[in-house]
Amino acid sequence: MGSHRARWIGITVLIIAAGLIAVLATRPSASVAEVQSPLVGHTAPAITGTTFDGATFSVPIHPGHFVVLNFFASWCAPCQQEGPALVAFQFEHQQTGDASMVSVVFGDTVSAAQSYQSTLGVTWPTLTDGKGKLALAYGVSDRPTTFVIAPDGRVVAYIVGAVTVKGLDNVINAAKVTHA
């Protein structure tokens, strides 16, 4: 009788452990940069704001080319890490005309962000987003966060963490195949 009970207890524990292992094994690991967002696959919220020089800037609802929207802060190490890659990406796609960059200051002072970007040699528009409306509209909770928006205005990628030129190119090439 006792051995039967022990056997059943053992089997139950094994089943529970196997279930836990299966759940944990199928979850995306923390190192995967591209994560799920309710926005992916949906029309991107309007990108409108004020640039460093006080001008109003808007991205059209259907931009006609890929838009890489990057939320950053000057003091954040991963943002500093990805900065040169973004500049390279912009330079590369400026030639082809299939993608452009827009940055949004997130959790930083305008002066610090402006100083950081001028050091980096940024030429694309950067929005100050003083009241955090854009961050809220895109559900940004950490920095850096990058969205890739397709020419038809839909969000195709949501990346938390430092991006690379290759990574962004892969996202854009995959989206081109999907949307072809």
Binding site: Q36, S37, P38, L39, F106, G107, K131, G132, K133, A135, L136, A137, Y138, G139, V140, S141, D142
Partner: protein, 435 residues
């Protein structure tokens, strides 16, 4: 056998259950019929929304930038007339379902709600079964008990039999005491008494058989466990002793089940209370306010507005003051406080129209109640700061001081009061605290 009627007594668990239900009803806020203010709605929503950049912290309890943004968004959406569900849906559409701290009652999340309730139901069922079995086991046929005891005592030593006898006597005395206190029904008491007296009789027969000791030698005969006027003929008993003879022990499974059931029930109770006991919003009383008069509602709104003002939420406070003026256009407190908030906002935003509107409100508040010290203080400050009219300000401040303002307000206003009196070339009154 006596069958005296006893006063009806509620069992303790019914009293506890009633207290719990009343507490849950009060805590849930269903008695609170007063409409929620926008600020209260905002706090309620914010408490259930997770701070996007924090771990397990609501936006209401976080000062992170993301939490501030979400809070501002919630208040803006409320101002736009959105319902709580619409606001939550908007945030979920941006941040995902993880933004909601309370899991939805659908899909896999449903388990979070169903399992505790199911568990508690099982726990209660197990508890009831165990208790019923226990009671049934306690009421046995006296003849069966006697046979069982005889078989048991047949293998016991003389000392063990003595201890056994003392235990049965104690059991009879306890049952009698419980019966007299009303904790044991007549039926149960009689059953227990019959059982134990039968056991005692069987035990005595065994003791006589083994040691030849007469029962009379055991001690003076007393009547233990009987009603007054009754005696237990078949069970002469010795005086009560304090012998601590262990009684029949529950089986391990029974103890395990009872412990598990009690723990599960307690956990479920804590869960239910925490789920349904709504957090109190600023100005809400713990017992709700089912029948508030309009005057009481106005007073509550004023208290809430003052709290919000102290917390620096001047926009929400201004909305509440406006609401009060909607109910009572001649409320001098709301008029004065709204005027002062408008003045401060107008100064910060350099808005001449807002300052003029504020001045009109403060004038009106003074007319409504000339002895309102707050209105006098605010109006005096406006005269001093905007018109550089020190004599006019001093006139208002004199009325302010004459109305015996609270000490803390006087302390806050001391600097501006001294400035006005000095500019007007007048001595500063002794009531004004020194710098």
């Amino acid at each position: 056998m006596s069958t005296r009627s006893r006063p009806f007594r509620f069992p303790l668990w019914i009293v506890l259950g009633v207290v719990l239900i009343v507490a849950l009803v009060i805590g849930s806020g269903v008695l609170n019929s007063a409409p929620m203010t926008p600020a209260q709605r905002a706090v309620g929503i914010e408490t259930g929304i997770k701070c996007p950049s924090c771990e397990d912290l609501s936006v209401a309890n976080s000062s992170a930038q993301t939490a501030v943004v979400v809070r501002a968004s919630v208040r803006q959406l409320i101002a736009e007339g959105k319902s709580d569900q619409q606001i939550q849906a908007y945030l979920v559409s941006r941040y995902g379902s993880a933004i909601v701290l309370v899991p939805p009652a659908s899909g896999w999340s449903l388990l979070v709600w169903v399992l505790p309730l199911g568990g508690s139901a099982v726990a209660v069922a197990v508890l009831v079964i165990v208790l019923v079995r226990r009671r049934r086991n306690g009421i046995v046929d006296p003849a069966d008990a006697a046979r069982e005891e005889t078989a048991l005592d047949a293998v016991a030593s003389s000392d063990q039999l003595d201890a056994r006898r003392q235990f049965l006597e104690q059991s009879l005395a306890d049952a009698f005491a419980e019966h007299r206190a009303g904790d044991l029904s007549d039926q149960d008491y009689q059953a227990l008494r019959r059982r134990d007296t039968a056991r005692l009789a069987a035990l005595d027969i065994r003791m006589v058989g083994t040691s030849g000791v007469a029962l009379a030698e055991a001690g003076p005969e007393v009547s233990v466990g009987t009603e007054p006027g009754e005696s237990v003929d078949s069970a002469p008993a010795t005086p009560k002793t304090a012998a601590s003879v262990p009684g029949p022990r529950r089986s391990r499974r029974q103890r395990f089940l009872i412990t598990g059931a009690v723990i599960s029930f307690g956990a479920a109770l804590v869960l239910v209370v925490s789920l349904y006991a709504a957090s109190r919003l600023p100005g809400q009383t713990p017992t709700g306010n089912p029948t508030l008069s309009q005057q009481a509602q106005i007073q509550q709104s004023l208290t809430q507005a003052a709290t919000l003002e102290d917390e620096g939420q001047s926009g929400e406070a201004a909305q509440l003051y406006q609401k009060v003026l909607g109910q009572d256009s001649k409320n001098e407190v709301a008029t004065a406080q709204l005027g002062w908030l408008e003045y401060q906002t107008g100064v910060q935003g350099k808005s001449a129209s807002l300052i003029a509107d504020a001045r009109a409100k403060l004038d009106q508040a003074v007319k409504l109640n000339p002895s309102d010290y707050a209105a006098r203080l605010y109006l005096g400050t406006v005269l001093l700061e905007q018109d550089n009219n020190a004599p006019g300000a001093v006139a208002q401040y004199q009325a302010f001081l004459a109305a015996n303002p609270p000490a803390d307000l006087l302390q806050q206003a001391a600097a501006v009061l001294r400035q006005a009196y000095t500019q007007a070339g007048l001595p500063v009154p002794s009531a004004v605290p020194a710098a």
